[in-house]
Amino acid sequence: MRREKLGILLALTAVVVTACGGASGGGTPTTGAAIVFGAAVSLTGAQSKEGGLTKQGYDLWLDWINQRGGIVVNGVKHPVQIKYEDDQSTPNLSATLVQKLITDEKAQFILGPYGSAATATDAIVAEKNGVPMVEANGAAQSIFSKGYKFTFGVLSPANKYLTGVLDMAATLSPKPTTIAMLTANDNFSVEVAKAVEDYAPTKGFQVIFTKQYPAAAPEVSGLISQAARLNPDIVMNSGHLAESIAINKGAKQLGLNAKIFAYSVGPSTPDFIKALGPDANYVFDGSQWTPQVKYKPSFYLSVSEYVKAYKTKYSTTDDPDYHVAESTAACLAFQKAIENAGSLDATKVRDALAGLDVMTFFGQIKFDSRGINTFKPMVVEQIQNGTHYTVFPADVANGKPQYPTPPWSSR
């Protein structure tokens, strides 16, 4: 009882203090109408995990910007709202929902969904409506080669996901030479794999095994046993979390010993380490961002502040993974573009996005003529003793690659 009263007292004090604080800052921007963002993310269905991470990223920025009173447009502070709709992991539904956000919810700007198929669908709706969309979770480049003017992607495109691992592998000794490549046959994963196959020979690697498997069917033991016979130095998987866990388990069971295991998506999430325990060690992944990168942001939070804000807001000890960070970055791109445009007009904000060049905790955000961020590098991280370490490129790294991966029998 007493504690409750104390709480109310504290809350009241807080209100009074903020009210005073607000009043004492007189002369600074007055408050304008709320800016409405819309996002159709998957909160149920097969991609609800990733959809949830996306929403976390958006909400982190939302709290921060509203604590500061909102986005400043020509000296006027506009508070921000984000309206969410659940697309149930169905791309077709996503299109209707984005239209609903624009028409009914009066969303002025669209934040992207999760996944390349939903992103393509939403991009077309945004284009038809002339509403800018910044997306953070669809890395397939096919969307950006269609001449759409209103869609921007803050993340590095799919072709960069695993090429960083090859760059790193080229610096190791003894240098690994052969690659076995496993690929889920979805849009994004195929682009990732294609880039590896094109890039590998230029760095002196040889792709000796490459096979696709049906996406979302984590039965890969047949493929692993085939790869195991070839004794590749590097095993790469271009797929998603469920498949990367299945492949790692399968590699141990079937005695596939490689010097490097590198997966496109999966190892960066806390779930990967929780699911595999010590078997997760030594695994590399190409990551859009890690909590260890050392960018010097020109606004918003620093990397360490961001990690702290995440842990506080979601009461967790886990680090935010890159899905969260890239989603926040999409919001930052909008914020900066709106500030630069000095207007909420859709076309002006679009133009400001096209000309954006800013450094954030997530890295540089700058779009090429197609609207995708080709200026931010990917980093390579490795799980060492149950913890993520950024190991490449050296200037942002906080650890050295542990190489070669010992065979399963001697771990």
Partner: protein, 287 residues
């Protein structure tokens, strides 16, 4: 050659999982004439129980299988008695729609309770395997196959060597006649569905040991159970075993072909061909 042997072994091991998943599905379909679209969801409920017992009290996944069976039996019995019994005499499509609705509810509840995080059961021996020359047999999967055969044996024994089984078969053969000789239909329906659910739960327990679990992870298994039962033929335990092993083999051998991306396509095309050539499945009864 050893490459081929390895693939065949892996196919059979995978087939064991399909057998375990399909047994309950086949029973419910054969006796109650219900295509249970919530079957995959029930499987995953079993997986979550095993996962929960493993993370909370470190109970070995194989030891938690009886608990899966018990809990799922209760759930299945209640579902049939309370809900599905109401439409049991309606045409096929209605029970189909009803179970679709039940699937939606179970998956949503799992999402609420367990969140969409990927869960995994990883006992200490999970990565080990038996190495016979150049061929490897993972222990976990071998355990799964053994359990699948035990399940098949249990199903056969229940149906052919017990009074309850005789009653279940009687209900499947002729409902009205069964009622005339004093069998309580509502109870028998619920019992049958409960047993089907219990087998699904055990299958879920095995699945949790080699695959990561999410609330929607069961959906593909409904489809696969469908395919396995059709492939083997309805109404016989041995047919389900044959169907499951065949389906597993096709899937793995499909992966070593020119385009493993076609694995699903190949599996279903084979299914369609079997159906056209032998409409009752490989071992189905011709009645």
């Amino acid at each position: 050659m050893s490459q081929f042997t390895q693939q065949v072994i892996l196919g059979l091991l995978l087939g064991g999982i399909y057998v375990a998943v399909a047994l309950g599905f086949s029973l419910v379909w054969g006796i109650l004439n219900i295509v249970n679209l919530a079957h995959g969801a029930l499987v995953i409920v079993g997986s979550y129980i095993t996962w929960d017992l493993f993370t909370r009290w470190h109970i070995d996944p194989f030891l938690s299988l009886p608990i899966d069976a018990l809990v799922l039996f209760v759930i299945g019995y209640a579902l049939q008695r309370g809900v599905i019994n109401r439409v049991i005499r309606a045409p096929l499509l209605f029970t189909f729609l009803l179970t679709f609705g039940i699937n939606l509810i179970i998956v949503s509840l799992l999402l609420l309770i367990f969140t969409p995080d990927f869960r995994s059961v990883t006992p200490s021996y999970s990565g080990n395997g038996l190495h016979l020359g150049s061929v490897t047999i993972p222990y976990i999967r071998f355990g799964g196959l053994v359990v699948a055969f035990l399940l098949a044996g249990a199903m056969w024994t229940i149906l052919n060597r017990t009074r309850i089984g005789a009653a279940i078969l009687a209900v499947g053969a002729d409902r009205d006649a069964a009622q005339l000789v004093g069998i309580d239909l509502r109870h028998m329906y619920a019992l049958t569905f409960g047993i089907g659910a219990a087998f699904a739960g055990v299958a879920g327990g095995i699945i949790s040991t080699f695959q990561s679990i999410t609330p929607t992870a069961g959906d593909p298994y409904t489809l696969q159970a469908f395919a396995v039962v059709i492939l083997g033929g309805l109404g016989r335990v041995s047919a389900t075993v044959l169907g499951g092993l065949t389906f597993g083999l096709i899937e793995i051998l499909g992966q070593s072909g020119p385009g493993p991306g076609y694995a699903n396509a190949i599996a279903f095309v084979v299914l369609v061909i079997v159906l056209v050539v032998r409409p009752r499945g490989l071992l189905g009864r011709l009645a």
